[in-house]
Symmetry: D2
Subunit: 392 residues, 4 copies
């Protein structure tokens, strides 16, 4: 069996831990609840065997993947899984390399305990690339898929150097890119795939898009769609299909994990709100008053609670309301999607596709290269892509 590498940026974070624990549990026969690619719709598609995936990653915090995951599973009544997944987690922990810290914002830099220091962007990319190549060589991997699961960066101010590969390469002697983009560049330079599960910039600039094409790499993002935005992306169609007018849609998220702490820095929060707040106008076709609040409430731990208040008008302008409260475990919702994205990116690699994988839009709050924000339309397009390729 060919072996495919998966390189996680943020490899000791809770999404990484749950992804790895879930991967191990699935190999031990657990039900694939939450895996989109395990739906009956995907039967007959030649998806990569989960057994073929080999995980490694970068991480800037210290701590230990095994202990962190044990804590997470125990806090959510999943302790019974630990014995079966422990050995695999140890293997991944041994492959984790210190991450690169350059420009992630004060909040993220404060978290850094183990990092590789680079004097220039070029040097940072080379350090990352060296780790990826060493991983591929050590494990005998055919190809690699990098997944960005790191904390959200502040949105950097646009630079002229982002427009073309030439300009970007010329600027790499200084500080032109945030970490998420340095990682993407490193992946592309080896022809590897890059999946951005965060709202950070990643590969989303013309220069990197062109570089990905040039190296035959696939990529996609941004920001995994796991909670409040997921609900919106389906519920908003209730109003469009019934021709009801949304007057205002007020959403408030509260969360207590590390992600929440990073987001309590207004600079980092800005990226997140930006990706969460553009969906409604795209689905509705007009701009009602919207609000997306995100606040850190420490006692919630890994729970993410969202309250949305929707004010809408019916026949003859009569005002009515709908409210919902969503109580989700963000990492538990994200982890199976990470496995889905790995399998689908691998499928694209096998099919020889290159560039932005817009068909993966249903997994993202702000899908790269895709204006369609309706979950069901996105999902139908994904199925069509999966099956079209299957026929070819």
């Amino acid at each position: 069996m060919k072996r495919v590498g998966v390189w996680l940026i943020g490899a000791r974070g809770s999404i990484a831990g749950v992804t790895l624990a879930g991967h191990a549990a699935l190999l031990n026969g657990a039900a694939p609840t939450g895996l989109v690619t395990a739906r009956a719709d995907f039967e007959g598609v030649d998806l990569i065997d989960l057994e073929a995936l080999v995980f490694g990653g970068h991480e800037i915090t210290d701590g230990d993947l095994v202990e962190a995951t044990r804590g997470y599973l125990s806090a959510h009544q999943l302790s019974h899984l630990m014995p079966e997944v422990e050995a695999r987690l140890h293997a991944v922990e041994a492959r984790i390399r210190p991450g690169i810290v350059r420009g992630g914002g004060a909040r993220i830099e404060a978290l850094a305990r183990r990092a590789q220091v680079a004097a220039t962007d070029r040097q940072a990319v080379d350090l990352i690339r060296a780790d990826l190549d060493a991983f591929k060589a050590a494990e005998g991997l055919e190809r690699l898929i990098m997944v960005n699961l790191a904390s959200t960066e502040p949105p950097p101010p646009p630079q002229a150097a982002w427009e073309t590969p030439q300009a970007l390469y010329a600027a790499l002697g200084g500080a032109a890119l945030p970490p998420s983009s340095l990682y993407a560049l490193a992946a592309f330079e080896g022809g590897d795939a890059y999946i951005n599960f965060t709202p950070s910039l990643g590969s989303r600039i013309p220069a990197l898009e062109a570089i990905a094409e040039a190296h035959g790499a696939v990529h996609m993002g941004s920001d995994g769609k796991t909670g409040e935005t997921l609900v919106k992306s389906i519920l908003a169609e209730l109003f469009t299909r019934r021709n009801l007018t949304v007057s205002s849609w007020f959403g408030q998220n509260i969360l207590g994990n590390g992600d929440g702490q990073v987001l309590s820095d207004p600079a980092n929060k800005a990226s997140k709100i930006q990706t969460k707040d553009q969906l409604l106008p795209k689905i509705l076709g007009y701009h009602p008053q919207t609000h997306v609040g995100i606040d850190y409430v420490g006692s919630l731990g890994e729970w993410k609670v969202a309250w949305d208040h929707i004010h809408f008008q019916g026949f003859m302008g009569a005002p009515m309301t709908m409210e919902f409260t969503w109580r989700g475990l963000d990492s538990v919702l994200a982890a199976p999607l990470v496995l889905d994205l790995i399998r689908l990116a691998s499928l694209a690699q096998e099919r020889g596709e290159v560039g932005v994988l817009t068909a993966l839009a249903p997994f993202f709050k702000d899908p790269h290269g895709c204006d369609e924000q309706r979950l069901i339309s996105q999902d139908e397009a994904l199925l069509a892509w999966v099956k079209a390729g299957a026929l070819g």
Copy 2:
């Protein structure tokens, strides 16, 4: 311009009143919020002009359509519409005929103030038909669409006579049918359309289906999808598209209008819960524990409040929850759909269609002849039907 008749069963009820007020307001230039057929998707479809519709109906309560509608509009901050709609409401009130009371349950019979007495089902059908024919003659109507907006009947025990037209006609000398079915039969015998916006039996027996075909009539039902079930029919796909397992879905409706009072009789409530409770298993493909409660809370007046608690499992079986509260004005949500159904039934008549109009499924909780319960799939099928016909 050809004129088309619309005959409302329950012509002084709140849905009828809001439908008529809204119809008049639209003719005066109001925005068509809530009208599905006013969506851009329906542009270019040759739908009947709202001006061409002439309304009449049956009603068993006394009271006055104009006064009842004035009260409704005033209670919901729509008083400003009254001056423009009053003249049209008076014209409809003048065309209302006493309804037929036979077998609607104790609760409905207690409401009856003005009714036509029939010794047999046959006689009841003839009385109804005579009213319809008189209406068509008096108004010079080309054809007629009957819409059942009356209170919910208790579900009658199935009868052998329902199986074939022959058996049904043989049984009409006695009491074989509930009122909703007597009305449907009367419509069909004149080749007229029958739309059942309630969960009552209506045309939903083989004998009436065959009689509709024989007379070239179209028909559809049952139970307008306006609130909690509407939300379910779209929200349930969040779970299927993400492969999340619904463990339980508990729904509780409270409402305060006349419909609510009739539903406080367990016999009548049974019909309603039946049509509301079959949707989830059809969409999900399995049977989680479900509950649909409906209770009368007088102080709510025309408001219908639904609280749904959804318990679901994610990756590795982790339990999570979603709750929603829906606060809708049932009649305001229903009325534009009634106008949509009239326009679409009229379109089917013009195209020469016959039998059950399954394409109208998105409007109903329990669509006749249609297993698809997903709102968006139903809506896409409706659009395809509308456009297919347009091409022919």
Copy 3:
């Protein structure tokens, strides 16, 4: 140190398990969160030392207290407590005696696996009393407090024999009393205290009240106030203090534990709803439309979720609403109150009090001998009682 016995009816149920685990955890130094008697208000009151309590009980199901409690703690992220409490739980399990099954309703009888069979009520009381005396002798206990934590019984039809001790004793040759009352009688005949944490009849008939007095026993009930009713008992004062009129108060409880299964039998549910539904009129001073629904939703396990919708009128009759959702672990909320009741009943015994302990009203949904339903007034009265005795 004097040792005091505590005899739990329903000794392997989840309230008993959490009470015992919590008692052990407190002895190991856990924080007394949820214990009313641990508030600063009770400082200086000579309450019994928790170390002095010795637990035993009756139970009709089989299973094992240690295993059941291990399961409960593990399901609610309290596994870390198990090592410290296990030894004490084993000791209690060894003292559990088979319960008496007589008249608890079909639902409860179906649960019975280990029961003592009695031909008459007299014989049942004697069997219970023998177990209590054996417990006191074996453990060298000065006195005993019985606490009823068993499943809710259906409300029995009133009997003439309940009016006086004479009539009751005369009827004991047959079947005059439900199990909860047989247990109360057995306690009283030994001068022991009886606390009824359930809505079952218990000691709440004139004959048993007189017998308690005659034997110098104290007693109190009914139905521990732990969730939705607790909220009501405080929130209702918002409306009275502001002179706002409650138009309707609709409450719906869903729960998934054994208690919920027993309550899914309408006969047993009747008792519960009766005690939950009388509070509002007593606090408000008028009767708005109220509703208390209780339904079993298996997937919730030990969680009890309540949704309440309150419709109220303000100045000039303007309607407004408040809604709340309560998500509680019933046994976790009940257990510390059980310990409170034991300590306070013990205090009453030490002070030589006799009869109904109305000062314990804040702990009960339907306090015996007390019309005051406002939580804060009840709590102030409790403090006054505690302190008055302290002075005497």
Copy 4:
């Protein structure tokens, strides 16, 4: 009958309009729902007759009290009251004088259409005082109660001049005080009462407290307690009385009226959040993580919706949650309290009291001179004050 003047600052705002409409409706026999002083507890207290109150006020916006109130009543289904109240509203509108604009923040100054210009604080106070004296003379009023209902000002930076009357008077040649304090000073200089229903500074500085004493004036504030904070002030006791630990209490308010627009300016919002956020620690006795959000959602109009998420720990630290949604009409909730405050301030004047009326604490989010934040304890203290005075 002696006549007492009431002078409203913000006399065309919605609270003023509803207060005046309600006052007129009460005189016409409407039920006194929402009036605390209409509770049975206040029977026998010699409160001023509502008929004796004569209203006037200052206002900086243009518009018309009659039209604004007509709009408000019509938007909330209270149109039927208009005919009975119109004449009285016209009389008040005729007595409204242009307000003073000095230092209320950019947001408030932008609203100003009709204002009196003052070069110094001293001159502003004199202009206000002249209006008050003219009102008293014109209407033959024995005494006057000023009520501040104006938009919330930004919290001004503390000044040394606030400490003593001497320092304050010395500074009046410049700009030492925000408008709310200028109004208070003007009231005090005539011996009149000042009630601050807003979170603005008002009389809450040592210099003004001393000046009030010196002139024999009574005063009280701040910030009427009408919605989310009202609920907190009673619900928090659920947790203290049961010894449950609140881990976090997250509250989010959304509102759509003019008050909301002013609060959308962060400077003005700061005052509001300050008064709303100090209650919980005072009641609980510790500082859980708290959050009070206020955001403007235009489509809500006069509705104020609050969502609170309370995370608490029970026995053995088990986490549980409660959520509530409050949907109130702020002005409808505030208006009867304004009448209550007028009656109670008048009572204090009649009894010859002087200084801060701490007994009026239950009406305020941040009661001047009172650390007690529990609604019921505050209410009991109010009753004691009312009755104690009655005996004297």
